[in-house]
């Protein structure tokens, strides 16, 4: 299972006796899944025996796909989602305009072919782009770098 920790969404856990505080951060500002994550954490930690469970959400520092663990990237591929490349550090000075499709190689999570093409930067969730594989013809999602 791909976990919140794999995704780098969990930013801290502090347990003290039967109390626990978990800090999480949303992937995108409007991520509608953050509430499900919070409630899942609360339910699971309560089930695990914690009497007092607090889940805090923070915006800063802003989540980056660079926080996804190697295991997380492997699991994304297992689920048919191409993992992000490195986002790297933010450039200094004005952010450059990108007027052409990204040329980085994104391998098809199904057949492994590097011959894939982006057909939309915005996928079914805020964090993915839509691509298709030229070799096996399957469409797939690619978690875009931020």
């Amino acid at each position: 299972m791909l976990t919140l920790e794999d995704l780098g969404v969990v930013r801290g856990v502090e347990a003290d006796g039967d109390a626990v505080t978990v800090t999480i951060t949303p992937t995108y500002s409007g991520c509608p899944a953050i509430e499900v994550m919070r409630d899942d954490l609360r339910a699971q930690l309560t089930a695990a025996g914690f009497a007092r469970v607090e889940v805090r959400t923070v915006f800063s520092p802003a989540w980056s796909t660079d926080w996804i663990s190697e295991a997380g990237k492997r699991k994304l591929v297992e689920h048919g989602i191409a993992p992000p490349d490195r986002a790297g550090a933010r450039p200094t000075g004005p952010i450059p305009l990108t007027l052409t499709a990204p040329t980085a190689v994104v391998r098809c999570p199904r057949c492994g072919s590097p011959a894939t093409e982006e057909f939309s930067r915005f996928g079914p969730t805020a964090c993915t782009a839509l691509r298709r594989c030229v070799a096996c013809r399957e469409p797939f999602e690619h978690m875009k770098e931020i």
Partner: protein, 306 residues
Amino acid sequence: MSAHLGVEEHDPTNAYQSLADSIEHDDPRWAFGTGVEDVQAEITSPVPDGVDPADLAAYCLMLGDDALICSQRLAEWVSNAPELEEDVALANTALDLLGQARVLLSRAGHVEGAERDEDVLAYLRAEPEFRNVALAELPDDLDFARAVARLLLFSTWRLALLHRLLDSRDPVVAAVAGKGVKELTYHRDYAARWTLRLGDGTDESHRRMQAALNTVWPYLEELFRTSDVERRLAGAGVAVDPADVRDEVDAVLDEVITRATLTRPTIPGIGTIGGRSGRQGLHTEYLGHVLAEMQSLARQHPGATW
């Protein structure tokens, strides 16, 4: 929905169950929001030293209302865009802006200290209480080129603002900027690429993209007009003076327009009335239509929960 779903019966594969669970053990919630203030740790941060809380609340409303109203306009494209991919792209863009708006409105409500949360601010204010720029409220009339043109101007400007707000002394403004810069970079690229495709496309798409640019152009000037609140807060290291981003925005727009084989419009700006415009609560006739749709459910069912 049947009986209470206990923690013992929790099914981790059912994403909807946890939402249903939380209704049972949480306070009742608005049908229209989830109380971001309760969980977003930064929103309750103290007001930075030397800053008037009323100014900070007003500034958060400006940045928040820009995002909220633009988000609402973008959301009108859901099920109406020329292709499913654009439907999804515009909805995702709207969602990012809505997320930014929720935090900024919550911050405004917290700093103001008048018991107004994000929902009250979004759904129960009248037109003169909104602080967004006119560009955000313009209708697209289901003309895709208009949506592209507005988003090009809006995202280029907002990205330049947020980029400078990364170091804001207000931790919430800085945090929204941190996430927003990444999101707006995608929005701007999207709008710029479509401007290129349409401008440098067929004769018909070129004509319509130019017409769309001409339509939104009179609303560009307002984006660089500095309000008193912005001037004071820029001096305090909290805000950015919008006049300072004009050169950067112009350079980006010129690059896109030139590469798209379009012509930079020379249409004058819409001006002000007695020095007032969006930042002072003076709006075009279009905002009322946006609010009528956006607020109707909340006003018909005050305090409704689900």
